[in-house]
Structures are given as C-alpha cells and as structure tokens.
C-alpha cells in the first residue's frame, strides 16, 4: 500500500505520485514506484534545473552531439572528435572518500567510452574544508588516493585539476571529475536501443545491493538520519573497468553493436529506459538472467542497484556470438537478458511473473520540471562595502603567507599521486595553466582546464560565473590553445531554498552570457543540488571544464620563466579592488566586498593578443593572473622556471600597493619575451588595442617588486618556493587517521 511515508522515502511528492498514476494508468507497484523515484529524482530528472539549463548556448559548427547523451562530442577535424564531460560524486565522497572518489572516476570514464571514445585525460576539481582539521585532511587524503587508485590502474592520466579550501565544504566536499576521450568521427556510438527484436546484453560486474537509491540520495540533504539511509557503499573495481573499456572499444571498433549505455545512477533502470526512450521503442528484460552477486535479490533491488562497472548493450541477433567472443577474450560474460520491443514499454519479468510494465516515455521524458521560487539573499553578500583596510606593514610576510595558503600553494602533493604521463601524450606536466595532450600522428594538441572560484560566485554569482568561463579560457590562451567547447558541473545547495535557486539562476545567466561572448557551446554537464549539511549550503560552486585546440603542438607555451635576461610584460590593466580576493581572506580574514569585475570584450582582446603573440613565436612564457594576483603569478613563473629564475619588477600604476601586488583584477596575463622581441610584442598590442607594459626582467635569486621607486617585496626565490612547496605536505605530516 503506497502512503505518504513511502512516497517520502522515495523522494516523491503526492502530486508527483498522482501524475505518475495518470501517466501509467494504474497504481504503480513498489518496483515501479522505485523506478519513478530514481528517474524523477533531481539527479536524473533535473527537476529544478531543466528550465534554466535551456538558456545555455549549445550550438556551434564543431558540435556533433550537444547535451543529452552520455557526453558532448566536438569535431576537431581530420575525421576525429573529442568526447568530454564533467561529473560530480560529492555525497558518496563524503560518506567514503576513497571509494566515493574512485567510483566517481569510474563513472565518468564509462560515460566517455560508452560513446566509442578512448579516454585520454582526466582532470579533477576538488573542494575541501580547511586542512587544519584532521577530519578534512582525512577526506582529502581519501579522495586523492581514490582518484589515483582508480585512474592509475585503468591507465588514463590525471593531467590537471584545481583545489580550493573553505569551511563551507567541511562536511560537504566536492569531487568533480572531468574526462576527455578521442574517437573517430564515424565511430561514435549512442545510447539507443534500435531495432525491435534485437537482443539486449548485460556486461560487466554482477549486480549486488550497491548504492540502491544512490540517485535519490544525491538528491536529498545530508543530516543525522542519512546515517541509516546509507546504501551499501559501492566499491570500485578499476581492473574490471579496464576489461570493460578495452572490450567495449573492440566491439565498437569492429562495428558489432547497435547501441550501448553504461549503468550509472539508477543502474539497469536508467540504462534500459533511456535506451528505449531514445529509440522510441521498448525493452523487455528477464531479471532472472541478470548476473547477481548476492542471493535473494528482489526485482526492486535488481532494477535499482548501482553496482559499478556494468554496461547494457544492444546488438543484432547474428552478431551475438561474435560480441560474446570479444568479451570472453577479456574474461567478461555478456549474457542476453532481454530484447528490444515495439510499443514503448519497459517490462521486466522475474520467475515468470511480470514485475514491471510501464511506458518508458513517462519514466524518461515526462518528469515534471519546476520553476522553483527564487529570491536574492538580503543583504547581497557582494554589496556589503569593505571596511577601510590598513596597508600591510610587511609586504614580504603577506606575500609568503599568501603563497602558503593551501588554495594558492603547490598541489604537487596531489598530482604526484596521479599517473599523469601514461599514454605518452602529456606535453605539459601539471603545474601549467592548462593540461596539454598531444594527438599522436597529428600536429594538433588538446588543451584542457577546470576552473571555478567559489569566493567570487558566493559574493556575486553572475559575475563569478562569467569570470569562471573567462579564466578557464585565459588558462587555455596561456598555453596557446583556442577554446572550442564547455562542460560544467553546477554544485549548489538545496534548490528548495529561494536564495539557492537565485544563485543558480544568476550563475546560469552569467555562464550563458560568457559562453556566447567566447562563442563556445556547452555540450553537457552535471548539476549537483542539495549540497547542504545540517541546513547549511555550500557556496554556489560552478566548475567549468573547457577544452581548447592547439593548432601546432610545437608552439605550446608553459608558465615558467625560461631563463635570465628576458623581459617581463604585463598584458591587461591593474585595477583597484580587493573584494573576494584570496589576499583579503588570508590577510584580513574577510570574504566580503564586490568581487573583481570583468569586461568580456577586453578579456577576449587580451586572450586573442596572447594567442597571436604565441603564434608569432614572440612568447617565452605565459601565465594568467588568478588567486593571489600579480605577486603570486610572478612567483609561480619563477618556481616553474628551469633553475628557478627570479625576477625584478617595478610598477608605476596609481593603485594601492597591496592591491597592485595581490589584487585579482581580471583580464591580465604575464608574458616574457626576449629583449629583441619586445618591440614586436608592443606593436602587436597597439594594433589590437590591448594595454601592455614591460614591467621588469627575469633573473637573479630574488623576486623583487617595487612601486614608484619604493621596495614592496624582496624575497629569495628559494624561501618563497619553500613556503609554497611545503604548505600542503607539512599539513599531512601528521597521519590523517588522527581524530577521525
């Protein structure tokens, strides 16, 4: 008997239930209710976000596949496409950091190779609570080793990422994983169950009682009662996934299949109904044929299990044996568990009895979409004026402290745990502004970056979102790549809170505007709502994953100074304003004020200029200014340089010295060039109406900055390097088991 309590446990409202009954023309049985509950969950059904996501631009000459499939597909020429997407695994990573993060990697990899692409790069965007708390260190340690454990084993390099630390992520870490794959344009596969009568094959791990209702859990706030709501935590099996990956690519390569879909959230339910719905057909499954790991599983459990490393595949009768032979070669069973049928219904039998019989259209396409009430928080955090700030009395100290702030500090402790070189494509090691992977047998290369500054988006979601797009593109420009497409992961609090909904709408507006400005389509993404713990929401955290194309891999530029005697050139303008900066947080303990503003037209000019200069071979190094501003950017260029080259810079701007050093005014790039090329660089800037200034020279053992003849900063590269390098490792010198 279906009552309110049961509906609550399935995260369905009473009118949603009435809608269901109307759509299927009967009272659903428990299994059918379970199916609707996951497919109509926020996670799968995008109830609260769909109406807004429509605003994002998705068109473009390169777009082969936009949002709606497992991942986006862009044409990069030469008969090749890239397939890429970003996914969140936030809640599971809090419950069990290692397995949560590991299965997050497994999931996004499947999304990519399901489409016929071989994954060639992973990037991870992480958010944790401050590292001075053992519990936060334990989460970070678990998440990082989970990502490493899975990615390293399957042999896809984790080539980049980003990490921010903030108290709002303390009990709600964010684990967003981006993956990109490469495929032949004529060998892209879709999740479609075409051809009535065609057999449906089940491939991969056996089904257990894993993560049942993971999807609904990802759509509910965390709190005390989640304890016992805990599903059976999923354990990742990267070796099994490796077998799946190779075997799937082989059957695809040999053109043996009709359609394929991974079993991710909502497992068998989601894959079967979506494949049927996309083809406008139905599927019938015999649950007794589904390989099971545990005894006595109910139809409900089998349909909703989220066991990892499983795929659903449709082929034609005549190819079944060949398909099974390929999987056998990889030690995988591929039993036929059902057929494609006419009539658009999903029917499942168990012990000869029909246990599910509902129209797939209702399940997949008719989930209600809500325009939830939204209201700006008052006062708007970004509108609260900053108090008068005293100038620092010791800039050296402020500088060093900023370098030692985990958000700014070196992330090698993280990425050295990742195999970032397997597949021998990694042109730029982690540490550059963007990852660059060469394409074997081609002069082109792919650049990728993930970015998102939660301080900005918290103060002003719309501006923060525009900046996130701009900074990601800027990171690409710094290595010499033009952006071609975007995926995004939108991490927010509870959408039933009007303030959260407002943040979401603002972010979408900002993203849409910025993506239009750069002419880049959004080909997919992921929305993670309900990132709340005990009623507290995280900062709105959109994470952008942007892919760029490098025309000639030999021209790729890295951020490190290339040696002494080069000229340091700043493209863009220094501006007043410390609102939302890392410096404000570290030095003054404030997170208020208006974040940096951004003029997208100027931003584009600066980036085009950087690209043209690189193209012309004038640029020795390029690095964008982000957290920590000019001073931190100078330091990073010194650190990444061969032999750690110092620099001396003098500035004349009529701007507060602390702002000049640490302000985060947008649209700025730090370039170096040979002395002989300075004129050419300046001429190019004039032609393009971009403000540039030669501000100093590389060389020497110190990083020195003076303002109008007055010394601001003068520290040895070695000391600065030590603070930046050790900040994260030294926090882990105590083992993280401590106190957890």
């Amino acid at each position: 008997m279906i009552d309110k309590a049961l509906l609550d446990r399935h995260g369905l409202t009473e009118e949603e239930y009435r809608l269901i009954v109307g759509l299927i023309g009967k009272e659903p049985n428990l299994t059918e209710l379970g199916i609707f509950s996951v497919m109509w969950s926020e996670h799968c059904g995008y109830k609260s976000s769909r109406v807004h996501l429509k605003k994002l631009p998705t068109e473009g000459p390169r777009v082969v596949q936009g949002p709606g499939e497992n991942a986006g597909v862009l044409d990069i020429g030469d008969g090749r496409v890239v397939v890429f997407k970003i996914e969140s695994h936030n809640h599971p990573s809090y419950i069990e950091p290692y397995q949560g993060a590991a299965t997050g990697v497994g999931g996004i990899l499947r999304d990519i190779f399901t489409m016929g692409a071989r994954p060639i790069a992973v990037l991870d965007s992480l958010r944790f609570g401050p590292l001075d708390k053992p519990a936060n260190r334990a989460v970070m340690e678990g998440v990082v080793s989970g990502i490493a454990g899975y990615g390293n084993s399957i042999g896809v390099p984790t080539v980049g990422g980003e990490i921010h630390f903030h108290p709002c992520y303390e009990q709600n870490p964010l684990v967003n994983v981006f993956c990109l794959g490469l495929a032949d344009k004529d060998k892209v596969f879709y999740a479609r169950a075409e051809g009535p009568g065609n057999p449906v094959l089940y491939i991969g791990a056996k089904t257990g009682r894993d993560g049942i209702h993971g999807a609904t859990m990802a759509s509910a706030e965390f709190g005390e009662e989640t304890e016992h709501k805990r599903p059976n935590v999923q354990v990742g099996d990267p070796f099994k996934e490796k077998l799946l990956l190779e075997a799937c690519l082989e059957v695809m390569d040999r053109g043996l299949i009709v359609g394929i879909q991974d079993m991710g959230a909502a497992g068998l339910t989601c894959s079967s109904t979506e494949m049927a719905a996309k083809a406008g057909l139905g599927i019938e499954i015999d649950l007794d044929l589904v390989p099971q790991r545990e005894a006595g599983m109910t139809p409900y459990e089998i349909m909703l299990s989220e066991s990892q490393e499983r795929m659903l595949l449709v082929t034609t009768e005549d190819k079944v044996e060949e398909v099974q032979a390929v999987f056998a070669r990889w030690d995988l069973d591929a039993p036929v568990i059902g057929r494609v049928v006419e009539g658009g219904r999903i029917t499942a039998r168990s012990k000869g009895e029909v246990v599910v019989d509902i129209p797939v259209d209702a399940v997949v396409n008719l989930c209600p979409a809500y325009r939830r009430p939204s209201r700006p928080p008052s006062p708007l955090p970004g509108r609260t004026a900053l108090p008068a700030l005293l100038l620092p009395d010791d800039y050296d100290r402020e500088f060093l402290d900023l370098l030692a702030s985990p958000t700014v500090a070196d992330k090698e402790w993280v990425f050295r745990q990742y195999d970032h070189m397997v597949l021998v494509n990694t042109v730029l090691l982690p540490g550059a502004d963007a990852a660059v992977q060469r394409i074997k047998g081609s002069r082109k290369a792919l650049a990728m970056t993930v970015d998102g500054n939660p301080l900005y988006t918290n103060l002003d979601p719309r501006t923060g979102a525009r900046i996130a797009v701009a900074e990601a593109c800027r990171n690409l420009a710094c290595v010499g790549a033009r952006p071609i497409g975007v995926t995004n992961c939108l991490n927010f609090g509870n959408p039933e809170k009007p303030e959260v909904m407002w943040q979401f709408e603002e972010v979408i507006e900002g993203l849409a505007e910025a993506c239009r400005a750069f002419g880049i389509p959004v080909t997919g993404g992921n929305v993670s709502f309900y990132n709340d713990t005990e009623g507290l929401s995280i900062h709105p955290t959109p994470v952008l994953g942007i892919v760029g194309l490098v025309a000639d891999v030999r021209k790729v530029v890295s951020p490190g100074f290339k040696g002494p005697g080069d000229i340091v050139v700043l493209a863009g303008e220094n501006k007043e304003g410390l609102g939302g900066t890392e410096f404000l947080r570290v030095a003054h303990g404030l997170e208020s004020g208006a974040p940096p503003q951004i003029d997208l037209e100027l931003e584009k000019k600066v980036q085009e200029y950087c690209l043209a200069a690189i193209e012309a071979g004038l640029v020795r190094s390029a690095h964008d200014l982000s957290e920590g501003g000019l001073a931190v950017a100078l330091a990073e260029c010194s650190f990444h340089g061969r032999g750690r080259v110092g620099c001396s810079v003098s500035l004349e701007d009529a701007v507060r010295p602390d702002t000049l050093l640490f302000g985060e005014a947008q649209s700025r790039i730090l370039l170096t060039c040979r002395k002989k090329d300075l004129q050419a660089l300046e001429r190019l800037a004039k032609e393009r109406g971009v403000p540039v200034k030669a501000i100093g020279r590389t060389g020497g053992p110190v990083i020195a900055v003076e303002h109008r003849g007055r010394k601001l900063v003068r520290v040895t590269v070695d000391e600065a390097f030590r603070r930046w390098k050790n900040a994260i490792p030294e926090r882990f010198e105590f083992r993280s088991e401590e106190g957890t």
Binding site: V235, E737, T740
Partner: protein
C-alpha cells in the same frame, strides 16, 4: 600482550581483490575453490596495560583506525 585483528569487507560489499584471486585460481585449474575473500590482518604488540584495558584499547583502535565501519567488519583476539 599481542592481539590479532582481522579486517575485511562486509559480506554484502563487493570484494574485487578476492574475486580476482578466485578467477586466477580457476584459470590455474583449482576448481575446488568456490569463493575467495581478501582482507587485512594487524598484529599489535601491547605493553604496560592490564589485559582488561588492552581489550578495550584494541576494540577501540579497530573501530576507529583499522577498520572503516562503513564498508568493513572486524574481529579480534589475543594471541598471548
């Protein structure tokens, strides 16, 4: 005193290691092997505490440090 603590995945949780070992043993012809589960074993040497306190200690350490209660179970005994 010496205590031995056995930590392994809960029965309902997938054990990829055990499965892989099992499959390997099968391909090597050990058909008699029906199932394999793999876990961790810790041997802890304790000193300067009463057996009673040691027991408390070991239980606590196992719960808080050695085993991850979300996916693992544990079981321990004194060796001498």
């Amino acid at each position: 005193m010496k205590a031995r603590i056995l930590v392994s995945f809960k029965d309902s949780v997938l054990d990829p290691q055990g499965q892989t070992v099992k499959n390997a043993l099968h391909t090597m012809g050990y058909a008699a092997v029906k199932d394999v589960r793999q876990g961790k074993v810790f041997e802890i040497e304790l000193g300067g505490v009463s057996r009673k306190d040691a027991a408390k200690l070991v239980a606590e350490i196992s719960r808080k440090v050695l085993a991850n209660p979300i996916i693992e179970k544990f079981d321990w005994q004194f060796l001498k």
